[in-house]
Amino acid sequence: MRDLLTRERLITAALLTVFALLPPVAEAFGQGYLTNVASRVMIYAIAALSLDLILGYGAMVSFGHAAFIGIGAYAVGISAEHNLWEGTLTIPMAMAAAGLFALATGAISLRTRGVYFIMITLAFGQMAYYTASSLSAYGGDDGLTIWGRSEVLGNPVLEDDTALYFFVLICLALCWWVASRVVGSRFGRVIAGVRENRARMSAVGFDAYRHQLVAYVLAGMMAGLAGALLANHAEFVSPAYMSWQRSGDLIIMVVLGGMGSLYGAVLGAVAYLALEDVLAGFTEHWRVIFGPLLILIVLYARGGLARAFRREGPSREGRDG
């Protein structure tokens, strides 16, 4: 166990270092645009991390996770529309809004399990999607262009792509740290315990429902942060951020990377988006390659990409149902 933990720490540090070195290296090779691509990848990594927290550790398969991203993004977009640009206000607002939505929907959703949980979270995700689509004051289905990025204490420092990149990187590192603290805490062990045997955890006096709800809200807030960053990166928000396909993409990232290890989620996001980008560069019909590739990965790389970094891992935990 101790060995596994240090290994996790090592890989985490390695991944973060790679991210930190990317902009200067890309610049040196005249590939500055990569910084931009990587910002988006890291933003999705934050979202995947937040999903992994509940999916990988708590077996709560949220199929409406994109809604939190969208709510976070809209919080920034709508604030900007009303001329509020201060990031130290809007980003916490985005997280709070997503967290509140997670609290309300989680309180209902967590009454159900397994596939029913998947579907009820989808339902809430769709409600958020259609609500955003009908906000014609904020662009409705076309989305809303944000004419600038958030300011930091009145300073438009994020206008620079590289500055934004490092801001996203710091957020990613912070989320990672928070997530690993949560996972390692007593609270995290209760969540994992509920996944393995709910009845036993209840029997020894833990309120499974309340623990799960707290984890769900935390994940929602983290995804809300990803949304706020996405809005800043794209300088555009759209209901498309909340579509069920996006929620599906996030699940795929987490499963692809390997559930239940935090770096797995990050690896999954990187691999998924990079593959998509690279294959799309080959042929317009890249999905014909991507689809079978996914199948092969699940077939032969059981436990996801993260597994490749472990000598031997514990066998996959039980079904989600």
Partner: protein, 392 residues
Amino acid sequence: MGRGIKALALAAGMTVAGALGAAQAAEPLKIGMMVTLSGPPAVLGNHIRDGFQLFVDENGGKLGGRDVEMIVVDDELKPDVALTKVKELLERDKVDFVAGIVFSNILQAVFRPVTESETFLIGANAGTSTFAGRGCNKYFFSTSWQNDQIHEVMGKYAQEKGFKKVFLMAPNYQAGKDSINGFKRYYEGEVVDEVYTKLGNLDFSAELAKIAAAKPDAMFTFMPGGMGVNLVRQFNQAGLADSVTFLSAFTVDGTTLPATKDAALGLFSSSQWTPDMDNEANKKFVTAYEAKYDSVPSLYSSQGYDAAQLIDSAVAAVGGDLSDKDAVIAALKKADFASVRGDFKFNNNHFPIQDFYLVKAVKRDDGAYHTTVVEKVFDDYGDVHAKDCRME
């Protein structure tokens, strides 16, 4: 671990190689063609790209005397994907022109990065009102129309024809709402009902029953792509065609006719172009297009073709030298080419001033379906937003 990782490593290697290769060959005129090639609306993107490609091929792979390197990218109809990819086009590929853009929300997302990098943006379809009015930009030119115009044609026609009661229906998204507003700008009669359907809705039986109950003289609708195919066929199956005049925008066109077939015959639509328009440029275009792609071109194909012609004319006018941006803009502004739609000149907001027609679907002797002009509704018509555009 297995194949996933290996594939990744391989793929990563290839990107680097690809990027380096691209950096070495700097000479050709680089055009980033951004269109939607995923999902149901992919057909629109295909047509624009095919039309554009056709002109380039006809011209020996050159535009304005320079060899063309075309980089086609799929925006997947996701604004943030479009944004990432357009930044790649601008920063990695350093394209001279970005062309295409099927949907308004994609145009919204890419407009700012493209124009701020002082790259020419040639819109071949989406014509959002923002960018025709207040948000107009000297780097942006459109070879299609301003969205409202197509709908206004139908409103004006309904008004002139004296329809007393009209039923309006559009998908529940911004373009749908703009469509209804565009129609109402010229139509002053009674609107018996306005119905907004879910985007991507496939079954219109509920709406058709409402239409039958409301007994309007005519209905106006905007249902692009597969939605239009369904609506037209279900309209026909319900037998409404006898009592209700069907007016539409982007619903009966070259992309939907192969699927609606007879069901669309006689239904009205509005357009700035039809395949049987009688001018030299158009005859050449349609013949070549049918020979190459074995299908009748749609208005989207014609817009793609004109986009290529526009770039060709401007690059030729500046002798292939794009360094003086204002000179290129001036050359683009002249629109010195024979548009397949006939009259074409740019307004102050860089949207075309052109004629608009009432068109209807007909069947050709060889069994192919296409649209044909019934009457001209607007002559040399510029859009209403142009007055808000503060551009020289």
